[in-house]
Amino acid sequence: MPARPLSPHLSVYQMSRYTLATSICNRLTGLALSAGLLLLVYWLVAVAAGARAYARAAHCLSLPLMKLLYLALILAFSYHLVAGIRHLVWDTGRALERAQSRRSAWLVVALSLLLACGIACAAWLAGARAP
């Protein structure tokens, strides 16, 4: 490993900055969604494996603790989606000024919370409706 400082050297940044917070959140939510892929594939494989295997998987997937996990995944999905769109806008060279970036950071937080609330409410309603 070279002796020169390597990026990202977290200690040189001001941790309270919104730029750092939004960036690290995008990474963390991305990692959470990567872990969520395990659940998705487990569910798909269970569907293919037949009704009895699915019933066993469904039992594990509907434990009370899993509801908390789904809520976390919904939050991660919403944030990563909206923050990712912000990155795609940046990639076109737009909205890179400091004031615009600060505004869009708040917009990302607000929109992702709104989206997460919407999905969580819809999921709750669907759960209450289903047997």
Partner: protein, 136 residues
């Protein structure tokens, strides 16, 4: 790129500049693929969430019937493939940033790449099994 003063002499050869491949010899391929998969995932992931929420129940019969439809199977396979691809690209960067030491980093990268390919294959195969399988 901004114009530089006459004193700023580039150390890159003209051939290196034309090829634009950089130290990793891959150029902007990683960056570009990450963006392409991100753009594709916006509609795909929203479709997945909305259709999951729209299912009347999550029992085997309902989910199986849903997965058997051609459109659902196609979009599900695309979703699993593109999501694992995008995930692999993202996790790779995190590992490159935070796992120090060449040996540990290489080993982690290999394991994570294998895991992602395995996940993609398992997911796609599961959907195909349902799509081409007999009715329950």
């Amino acid at each position: 790129m901004a114009r530089r003063g006459p004193r700023a002499v580039s150390l890159r050869s003209p051939l290196g500049r034309v090829l634009g491949l950089g130290a990793a010899k891959a150029g902007v391929h990683h960056w570009w693929t990450q963006r392409l998969t991100a753009i594709a995932l916006v509609p795909l992931s929203l479709w997945f969430v909305v259709s999951l929420l729209a299912l009347p129940a999550l029992d085997h019969t309902t989910v199986y019937a849903w997965m058997r439809q051609s459109g659902t199977a196609l979009l599900l396979m695309l979703f699993v493939a593109v999501a694992t691809w995008h995930s692999q690209l993202g996790v790779r960067v995190v590992i490159e940033d935070y796992v120090h030491g060449v040996g540990a980093r290489t080993l982690t990268l290999v394991l994570v790449t294998f895991a992602h390919i395995g996940l993609a294959a398992a997911g796609v195969f599961a959907v195909l099994r349902v799509a081409f399988g007999a009715a329950p």
